[in-house]
Symmetry: C2
Subunit: 510 residues, 2 copies
């Protein structure tokens, strides 16, 4: 049965919607049966772009034609991304038609041909990108056309501005607003939860939005959430920052530089180096968040995103120049690219490490404290709380005398109340198979074990590492302990950990 | 329930397959429930690339994570493309694991950076493309990196060779093998069915593989199939050509330049001009088909793929030069870009037009005969059957004296027996709404009406056009007749035709 309406023409055809629950990684996909009359009357083909309109909202989705039984001919199934964008409810009747031509693709073609794009060309492209009018293939073409060194400084500024302009922008009134960013997404997550209270304790303002885990066992937002609420809206965030000078919240509730989220999704699997896009991505988020002074942590090393001092220098200069064009003062700090492992892997276990540093426990991970102070230092200098070269030392003092801990508690209370991180009911220690020296720790595998144990969905789940590279261990001494919410998840993680016996590699005796 | 096997590790995890019937336009997609243990144990994330191995066949698919009920946690659903590539049967148990790293993407990145690629770099990329190891995003990046004028002559030769090398190659023994191609996919389909018998009737060899309709109401293979079998395998094709000198068969059963099929799927929606890729696409198919002499029909005009004489000249020169490097003699013929409409739209109706020309009926469409002779001419000259400049005239003679008709019957018999095209049981004439002059005919809409009537799935369905632009008609005189297999399809097409009243536009009286 077709719901109402004449077939074809510009008015489109009406059809009932159904939620299919397919996570297409944010691509809007519409699934229609090959015998669906709307497909025929509108002339949709496999892979057509289809405009779906519902209650004043309009999206463009890619058509997948279905011959199996899970979509019937009188309904249109939607992927999760499409469902969310339309705010649809099961049984809603939407209007489907061909979308208008995507004029801004002409600018993408011009870029492919090596032409420079004007600010208005970038604005047109980014408006369409943020509105979801580009298919994944078209996004990949745009990303590729801008990759390498295909964007000059002016174009990068135009792209960054265009990205800021299509989203929300937080306003903080007069005065400095500090922020930090780590290039390349190396862990370092836990440093944020120490840097913010240090900076805020020195009387500076640092509203920090963070992400949840995408592929890791814990994002900063997941870890912070074991200690305080993080899903705050803009008025709540403002209230917290006004009261305490800082916050550590989840950025998902705030629509900052939404085009960046769309582009990153495509950039990640392509893994093309693109200095212009990296700069636009980082700075558009910071400008939209209302920052005025930004410290950028740039790990340099053979396994980091930035591999040489020369590359770091060039990228750093472009970040500073584009930042200046947007009214942002940017300071780039290169680090050694060796991420601190701390002890815990998983939200609650990582929160425990942070608390240990803040509470000045004797066994707190020193690497985490040092790295946090190293990055907080330049922020304190930029903010005028410390003289040039004196920031790191001040940060260590603030961590060491309890001021950071007091400020952290204050922030947690303002965000909705501090709480104790949960403790996993099921644990298993993995013993050293022999006596010897720990010669290597495979962090990638430890992360996978933590995820098998349930992190980050189970905040208490994860891996607690007891040894460091270079340490001598006795046979039978625990190398790490698995934490899980259920016996099943524990068994699952244990099975995998046993199959990967050299995750923490102890030398054979000679 | 998980089928057998230890979780994780390099051995992969085993899981039951299910056919979902989703046409993703040839992208291999695997749908797994978010609670599926294989996802967890292997560490697959949304949009992971997943290697699926079954009975010695291996494909790489993109993961869509499903939370809805149409895939259960103990099975992996496959898209039609994945199902076909694996030769799977419902309930088969496959092994899933992470695919090995895609080394050839490094060459794509180098191309993005503007470097020239070596023959072995193209070979590595094209091997992976043909094997389905590139995701759609990665394909789009490769296509974009090579678009515009980013490939020089040598690179285009390397790309073409690489594309030929990964597929089948037909061998015809010593002597010339003629072929033709039309750039830009304008209809012109029907000319092939006239050119082949003309050329073969002159003692030359012309084995022609054609495609089925993708978005049109009829491909050459669909039209030919109403007159004779076309789904022949390589030995059968050879037998037909040995006996008659020509054939008109479906190319789908022969795996010529399979990488081209993969790339075209992505190139089409991106619509990037890419001379190098166009040349590689056309010539790789021709070289793989064993052609030695090729005539290329290049329509030039404001609505054609090639828009100016200058562009036609450059593209033509590159086709000839790359052809020469591959041992192909290429001759480019520019045409006016106005596609012949003939009378019929739809497989059987188009076949009827072809037969009318071959059988020299008084009412046969003259434009179809003229255009076929215009393109057959250079083939006859290349093949030495006619002197320079005398090919078109010879072609007209062969069409006019019945030799082409005799040869066409011979070819049909050799392909399995000539038959009568079916006639639709349900028809409806659409009358002129007023007396006046036909000032415009909207071919795109006529094609859509033909598809609504059931073409090409119903070979007899389509539109029979009775008038031409510039003709005077009386009120009530039929402009075109709809043909359909069922009353429902007829009613559907009629409804649409009425809603689009000016598809054949007759002037208002002044």
């Amino acid at each position: 049965m077709i719901v109402g309406s004449v077939a074809g023409g510009n008015g489109g055809s009406r059809i009932r919607l159904r939620r299919l629950g397919v996570d297409t990684y944010q691509e809007a996909v519409v699934y229609m049966h090959r015998d669906c009359h709307v497909c025929h009357s509108e002339g949709f083909e496999a892979q057509s772009r289809v405009e779906v309109a519902l209650n004043g909202r309009t999206i463009v989705a890619t058509l997948n034609v279905v011959s199996g039984g899970f979509v019937s001919p009188d309904e249109a199934g939607l992927s999760e991304a499409a469902w969310r964008l339309l705010h649809a409810n099961d049984g809603d009747v939407a209007t489907l038609r061909h979308p208008p031509p995507l004029e801004s693709l002409g600018h993408v073609r011009a870029k492919v041909y090596g032409r420079r794009l004007t600010p208005s060309a970038f604005a047109a492209i980014i408006r369409d990108v943020a509105a979801g009018r580009y298919s994944d293939l078209q996004l990949a073409a745009f990303v590729t056309a801008c990759a390498g060194d295909h964007l000059d400084l002016e174009e990068t500024v135009s792209l960054t501005r265009a990205m800021v302009d299509v989203g929300e922008r937080m306003a903080w009134g007069p005065g400095m607003v500090l922020d930090k960013h780590s290039v390349g997404g190396l862990p370092g997550n836990r440093t944020t939860m120490l840097i913010v209270p240090v900076v805020a304790a020195c009387g500076l303002r640092m509203p920090k939005t963070s992400s949840r885990a995408i592929t890791s066992p814990a994002g900063t937002a997941d870890t912070m959430e074991t200690l305080a609420p993080v899903a705050l809206d803009v008025p709540q965030i403002k209230h917290v920052v006004e009261r305490t000078g800082g916050c550590i919240v989840w950025g998902g509730a705030v629509r900052l530089s939404p085009a960046d989220d769309v582009l990153i999704r495509v950039e990640r699997p392509l893994d093309l180096d693109s200095q212009g896009q990296l700069v636009a991505s980082v700075l558009s988020k910071k400008a939209a968040a209302g920052a005025t002074h930004v410290v950028i942590d740039m790990p340099v090393g053979p396994t980091a995103k930035v591999r040489s001092a020369q590359a770091a220098h060039e990228l750093g200069r472009q970040l500073e120049q584009v930042g200046a064009a947007l009214g942002l003062q940017v300071r780039v700090v290169t680090t050694d690219g060796l991420a601190p492992v701390g002890r815990g892997i998983g939200p609650a276990l990582e929160a425990r490490d942070v608390l240990a540093v803040l509470q000045r426990h004797p066994g707190a991970p020193a690497d985490l404290a040092l790295r946090s102070a190293y990055l907080a230092g330049p922020l304190l200098e930029l903010g005028g709380a410390a003289p040039a070269g004196g920031g790191e030392r001040l940060a260590m003092e603030v961590l060491g005398d309890g001021r950071a801990w007091a400020k952290f508690q204050e922030i947690c209370e303002a965000q909705g109340g501090m709480r104790q991180p949960p403790v996993a009911p099921h644990r298993r220690a993995m013993p050293a198979p022999r006596s010897g020296c720990v010669v290597a720790i495979d962090n990638r595998r430890l992360a996978r074990i933590a995820k098998l144990a349930g992190a980050p969905q189970s905040p208490s789940a994860g891996v607690d590492l007891h040894v460091q590279t270079g340490e001598f261990v006795e046979r039978g001494q625990p190398l790490f302990t698995l934490h899980a919410d259920s016996p099943g998840e524990l068994a699952y993680a244990v099975e995998y950990a046993i199959s990967q016996a050299d995750t923490v590699h102890v030398t054979e005796d000679a």
